[in-house]
């Protein structure tokens, strides 16, 4: 029985570690991909010509869809623009996209077109905080679950299969 | 009708006149600066808060809008009701109506949270909103009165004066109903939510329009030398007396019916006896200055009304109307909303308590700026086009 127990515990530890690894990896990958795309100058959600001339129309269209109908695709959403185009300073903190010389401000200041988007909208993504919070929450849930589940159900025979299905 | 009327422009190089124009310009600049200050810092610098969201600027704006609608009445008296002795003043009446309305609207717009989005208000409409209707009624009013003035100015079109006047008369009636409806259609506030708001506002507009007309024609007389004949002014003042009495009657009917049902007794006792400033404004301002004083001045004593008595009655009526609108607009919001009848409610959001509102200097400046804008518009246009009757030629 002791042996079986150990097996189950080890499997569980492995699973927890895999989850932790998976989460960390996914966040790292996401951040990395965004960084990489920015560095590579990967094409935006539409060809540059269209974006230059029509980003306002695209944003307005998306705005009404999201606001009025609850359609939350991200391709033309302002939050998506900000997530890709925001810059970080030397300390690794986001610089607001409407700060001088930043993505939105650089053109809009040059062309003297005032925008009021950022009277209301956030100028940096909340991704870092929310991703951290998400990882923490997921980890604590996972660990709590693994610790509270009965390890052995009946006379030494672990119902590994059932536990697996319950996940 | 048969007599050909003569009109003239205002010509004055009087230093007093110049001083007056300079004063108006300064007041407008101060008003605009105040509005700009409130807009750039946000409305927390004003007296307004989340309990009383419409304050002094709304009192001024509605006062001006009601005066505008009522001021047109002097023109309607001749073109709709055939009172020919008012005919020579109907151009002036139309002009006064337009400038007062524009002044009121500017105050209203500059007090918006996002005044720069006026174009949104002009392009997005919700037709179930009485406010949206009012945007049409107000801008339409200016257009209708311009047509009414045009057919008066253009001799060849003079035969259209009667239909144009009738149309303008109907329009201003609907407009004032719309202004009353802003409050009448609100179920959420104890003092509003009554169809009585509509007649109360219509008669108040007649009171205001008549008294403002009498005061302003006297003001222009200083520099134009053209005054309303004492006899006509006396007739108009006695008419003002009837309007004042009618308004007192309607207000009494409103409060008595409201007082009868236990449901509304809370707000009624608030206005009539326990409301502090609002109670004082009601009895001394609205009923005293706005009702009893003008009635006494007009009807007590010799039936030959002197210009002094006419002006005192008019001035008091305007002060009373101001108090009435303050009690209605601010007092109506200050009284707590009843979410749970028969229960006492407490919260961190001022539930169940009388909300405080003390007007800021910025709101006062904005309101005064609006009045000044109306007056400046009037005096500029009086110099450009012949709105004033030419007594000498007549």
């Amino acid at each position: 029985m002791v042996k079986v127990c150990n097996q189950v515990v080890i499997k569980r530890i492995v699973r927890v570690m895999a989850s932790v690894f998976g989460l960390l990896f996914s966040v790292a990958l996401l951040a990395d991909t965004l960084e990489q795309m920015r560095a590579d100058g990967v094409q935006c959600v539409e060809p540059t010509e269209i974006m230059r001339k029509q980003h306002m129309e695209l944003l307005l269209h998306q705005r009404d869809l999201t606001m009025r109908e609850g359609i939350r695709t991200r391709q033309h959403s302002l939050n998506q623009c900000i997530e890709c185009h925001v810059q970080k300073n030397n300390q690794g903190d986001y610089i607001p996209v409407n700060a001088p010389e930043q993505f939105c401000a650089s053109c809009h200041n040059f062309t003297s077109v005032a925008i009021d988007c950022f009277d209301c909208h956030a100028t940096t993504p909340d991704l870092p905080q929310s991703a951290n919070a998400l990882i923490q929450q997921a980890l604590s849930e996972l660990i709590a679950q693994e610790l509270t589940l009965p390890i052995v159900k009946r006379s030494g025979v672990p119902e590994l299969h059932n536990i697996e299905v319950n996940r | 009708m048969s007599k050909l009327e003569h009109f003239r422009i205002l010509k004055s190089d009087d230093s007093g006149y110049r001083l007056f124009i300079i004063l108006l310009t300064i007041l407008i600049a101060v008003g605009y600066a105040a509005a700009h200050h409130m807009e750039s810092h946000g409305h927390w610098v004003s007296g307004m808060n989340n309990q009383v969201v419409w304050g002094l600027p709304h009192v001024f704006a509605i006062l001006l809008i009601l005066s505008a609608s009522g001021a047109l009445n002097i023109g309607s008296m001749s073109s709709v009701f055939g009172q020919s002795h008012y005919k020579s003043w109907s151009r002036f009446s139309g002009l006064l109506a337009i400038v007062l309305l524009v002044g009121g609207l500017i105050v209203l717009v500059l007090d918006l949270g996002r005044p720069e989005r006026l174009v949104v208000a002009m392009t997005h409409y919700n037709f179930k909103s009485i406010f949206a209707w009012n945007i049409f009624l107000y801008s339409g009013f200016v257009a209708v009165v311009i047509v009414y003035l045009w057919v008066q100015f253009q001799r060849s079109l003079n035969h259209y004066v009667e239909p144009a006047g009738l149309f303008a008369f109907i329009w201003r009636f609907v407009l004032t109903s719309g202004t009353g409806g802003i409050f009448g259609f609100i179920v959420a506030r104890e003092l509003y939510d009554s169809a009585m708001m509509i007649p109360v506002f219509i008669v108040l507009s007649l009171v205001l329009g008549t008294s403002v007309f009498l005061l302003v024609q006297r003001l222009t007389y200083r520099w134009s030398g053209v005054a309303l004949e004492t006899e006509t002014a006396g007739k108009l003042a006695r008419l003002l007396g009837i309007f004042v009495a009618l308004e007192l009657f309607l207000v009494m009917a409103f409060h008595l019916t409201s007082l009868y049902s236990a449901e509304h007794q809370g707000v009624e006792w608030f206005i009539l006896s326990d409301g502090g400033l609002y109670t004082i404004l009601f009895w001394i301002g609205q009923v005293g200055f706005g009702g009893l004083v003008p009635l006494a001045v007009i009807y007590a004593g010799s039936p030959e009304l002197s210009m002094r008595r006419i002006l005192v009655a008019s001035g008091c009526a305007v002060v009373g109307a101001f108090a009435q609108l303050y009690v209605l607009i601010v007092g109506g919001q200050a009284y707590p909303q009843i979410l749970f009848p028969g229960k006492t409610v407490q919260s961190s959001f001022y539930d169940g308590v009388v909300a405080s509102y003390s007007p800021s200097i910025y709101e006062l400046a904005l309101g005064v700026g609006g009045v000044s804008l109306s007056m400046l518009g009037l005096f500029v246009l009086l110099r450009i086009l012949p709105f004033l009757p030419d007594n000498r030629a007549g």
Binding site: A18, S26 | H41, P115, F131, N134
Partner: protein, 245 residues
């Protein structure tokens, strides 16, 4: 999970799929995401979101729902209580005759016939297909007529310049705002922040769900137990209902 799995770029998708596979293999629950309507779906009129609040469970000294809402939407006060926004507030109610005291949270009631929507001149106040009443701050001119018209005192006017808004909850000076039912959460299959806080830090007095779904906890509960609307005399058919008040 904002950002992962939804960004429409091939490389990113690949990464996201890989990590989703890993997390799933590791046993991480992604039930919440599975329950959400997909992002390209519009809100449907087949759904009517609603809330049931049991005032017997709601304690007078508890404001978990309020702090949950404030931190979710970053409603940081300016230390000026008369002009600070409140989307949800606690009411203490004493019966004038019996002295019975109860406590409950008051928020936008998400009426079926909302007076704020009726009076709004530009149509900025509107009701979504699924019954959520919102302010489109792009067309709100700040006239405050809706604040006058709301029978529940649920709306606030933003009296100053704001900073540090959340990306999912834009707010700004000169416009009117109120409880959104945490529409950004609902669209991702989650419950509003106040309900979540009430369950985790409060007394579990709030239930949220689809009133039209006969099998939902809220629908079952309001059918089997008595509940009421605040100011039901106005016939607004509120989406928020109360028990034991």
């Amino acid at each position: 999970m904002t950002g992962s799995g939804t960004v429409s770029r091939r490389s990113l998708l690949k990464g996201a799929t890989a990590c989703a596979a890993i997390t799933a293999a590791g046993g991480f629950r992604i039930v919440e995401l599975a329950m959400a309507k997909s992002p390209e779906d519009a809100a449907s009129s087949l759904v009517r979101w609603g809330m049931l609040i049991d005032t017997e469970k709601c304690a007078s000294d508890c404001d978990a729902c309020v702090s949950g809402c404030n931190s979710e939407h970053n409603l940081e006060g300016m230390g000026r209580p008369e002009t600070d926004a409140q989307w949800i507030r606690k009411l203490d109610i004493t019966d004038n005759q019996t002295g019975h005291v109860s406590s409950l949270p008051m928020l936008c009631q998400h009426c079926e016939n909302p007076p704020c929507v009726d009076v709004c001149p530009t149509g900025a106040s509107f009701k979504r297909e699924d019954g959520i009443v919102l302010v489109d701050k792009h067309t709100c001119i700040g006239c405050r007529y809706c604040v006058i018209a709301c029978p529940y005192k649920a709306r606030s006017f933003v009296h100053e310049n704001l900073h540090n808004q959340k990306s999912y909850s834009p707010r700004g000076k000169g416009t009117v705002e109120s409880c959104t039912f945490c529409v950004h959460r609902i669209d991702n299959g989650r419950t509003p922040a106040c309900v979540e806080s009430c369950q985790s830090d409060g007394n579990g007095a709030m239930v949220f769900g689809d009133l039209n779904d006969k099998a939902s906890e809220i629908a079952v509960k309001i059918k089997s137990e008595p509940s009421r609307q605040v100011r039901e005399d106005l016939e607004l058919n509120t989406g928020v209902r109360y028990q034991n008040v």
